[in-house]
């Protein structure tokens, strides 16, 4: 069941208001996305914990209606 990129983005932005979110529809089929999220919420967290936060923001859709979301997360780099 396809999910719109805008829907994914809204869910992530709701959870991480400061986030920089870039979503790419890899095949144009609404089913295979790549998503990069940069947020201060990830500071000091392991990659596993960062991804778990995003999965939580997606409210259980990951692995269900959202089949493939390649995720890349990081905390903002301080310059």
């Amino acid at each position: 069941m396809p999910m719109q990129a805008s829907e994914i983005e809204t869910l992530i932005r709701d959870a991480f208001p400061d986030a920089e979110v870039v979503i790419e529809d890899l095949r144009g089929d609404g089913d295979h996305y790549a998503c990069r999220v940069v947020s201060s919420a990830f500071t000091g967290k392991s990659r596993v914990q960062q991804h778990q936060l995003v999965y939580k923001a997606l409210g259980g859709r990951m692995g269900g209606e959202l089949h493939a979301l390649a995720l890349q997360t990081s905390a903002p780099t301080t310059n």
Partner: protein
């Protein structure tokens, strides 16, 4: 979705080998591109691992998601510790962190090519 029997089985399985991969299909015949990608990485590093085919067992397939608090398969365990899914493994492989992490845990791994 995690009964005591399944939890015990998972605890035994992740302790059974240094590197354990929960995957769809088998290391020789992965049945999902994401599982195949992680098998490819481990093979590349020359790390022996045990593959557990979640398609063979619905209780494990759902149980491991609850156990790790992680919604997707594959899932990699090293020395009983959850390391991540396909994206994290790929990223750690590319940065060389995966080799380093294996080596600090006493597992012989080749550097990423």
């Amino acid at each position: 979705m995690l009964d005591d029997t399944t939890k015990e089985r998972i605890e035994q399985d992740i302790a059974s080998e240094d590197v354990v991969l929960y995957m769809k299909g088998t290391p020789v015949f992965p049945q999902c591109g994401f599982s195949a990608a992680v098998v490819g990485v481990l093979t590349h590093l020359g790390v022996p691992f045990r593959g557990i085919n979640v398609l063979d067992d619905m209780a494990i397939r759902e149980g491991i998601k609850a156990f790790s608090d992680w919604p997707t398969i594959p899932q990699l365990y090293v020395k009983g510790e959850f390391v991540g899914g396909c994206d994290i493994i790929r990223e750690m492989y590319e940065t060389g962190e995966l080799t380093e992490m294996m080596q600090t845990r006493g597992i012989d791994a080749k550097p990423a090519a």
